[in-house]
């Protein structure tokens, strides 16, 4: 009788706590990512000429890099 009571108590304990170990499942992603202008914090790979955390300097860096790297009308002096 005692064994049966212990087994029953164990069963109740297991079934009542079964969901406690599960990870929450929420549909949808709440991540939005960080803005790129915050930088990586990894110095050697970061391009010089702009300041991490400064959105304006990052935008200027992108604009300059696009024009000097991809617009040969600028690179060749307008010819």
């Amino acid at each position: 009788m005692r064994t049966l009571a212990v087994a029953a108590a164990g069963l109740v304990l297991v079934t009542s706590l079964a969901a406690c170990g599960e990870k929450p499942q929420v549909a949808g992603s709440s991540v939005k990512g960080q803005p790129a202008y915050l930088g990586t914090g990894v110095g050697p790979y970061t391009q010089a000429g702009w300041k991490a955390g400064d959105a304006t300097s990052w935008e200027e860096q992108m604009r300059t890099r696009t024009q000097t790297g991809q617009n040969e009308y600028v690179r060749s002096g307008g010819n």
């Binding site: 992603s29 991540v31 939005k32 990512g33 790129a36 202008y37 915050l38 914090g41 990894v42 991809q70």
Partner: protein, 207 residues
């Protein structure tokens, strides 16, 4: 804030696949997954044209609309990214995307479809910028390093332009007006055809 976009100049692309190689190398993209590829129109016919295609980071992205687990998000810079921890690999985005951008590794058991992989505009993922986790799942985060996508920067003929939409549009416009052609090869006219001479404009109807 800048709105990052790609544009490919079909008059310049020489189908060298340098952009594809740059992307694969920069992000260690696995075998069988191509975030970027070169498509040739009228291959072998004189006058053939090639364009480099990847995720176009749509302003109204259909992949985002159909994803059942809402794993996509758009960054402040207008880049469409996704969270691989949330993706279930269902493939809906693949059917919705008009550019065939979403890719699925099939190296799992019984060729099971893995989590979706696509062009990130070299902007990484939701993990911390420059972290090992981000690098492993999404590849290099060049935007946060103050650089532009590797494919566009490696393009030998500068056919593939990538950067702030306003800036790349200005560059492309100068080219087209200078050489007096080019916009007709890849654009709305190619996708939807041009109105034949003398045809009446379609009447607006209520739907």
């Amino acid at each position: 804030m800048a709105r990052m976009k790609f544009i490919c100049d079909a008059e310049r692309c020489i189908e060298c696949n340098g952009c594809v190689t740059a992307c694969k190398a920069e992000h260690a993209v696995p075998w069988g997954v191509n975030r970027r590829r070169v498509v040739t129109l009228n291959d072998g016919v004189p006058g053939e044209r090639s364009i480099s295609v990847a995720c176009m980071h749509c302003s109204d992205a259909p992949c985002m609309a159909v994803c059942p687990v809402d794993c996509f998000y758009r960054t402040e810079e207008g880049v469409v990214l996704h969270d691989k921890d949330t993706c279930i690999g269902c493939g809906y985005c693949s059917y919705a995307c008009p550019f065939g951008a979403p890719q699925f590794p099939s190296a799992g058991t019984f060729g099971m479809r893995g989590k979706m992989d696509k062009c990130t505009f070299c902007a990484g993922g939701p993990e911390a910028h420059g972290s090992a986790a981000e690098n492993e799942k999404y590849g290099r985060n060049r935007l946060a390093e103050g650089k532009l996508p590797a494919c566009a920067e490696m393009c030998a003929t500068k056919a593939l332009l990538g950067g702030d939409g306003d800036v790349v549009a200005d560059i492309f416009r100068v080219r087209v007006t200078t050489r007096n052609k080019g916009s007709e090869v890849w654009g709305w006219g190619t996708a939807y055809g041009k109105p034949s001479p003398g045809s009446a404009a379609p009447k607006a109807t209520k739907s």
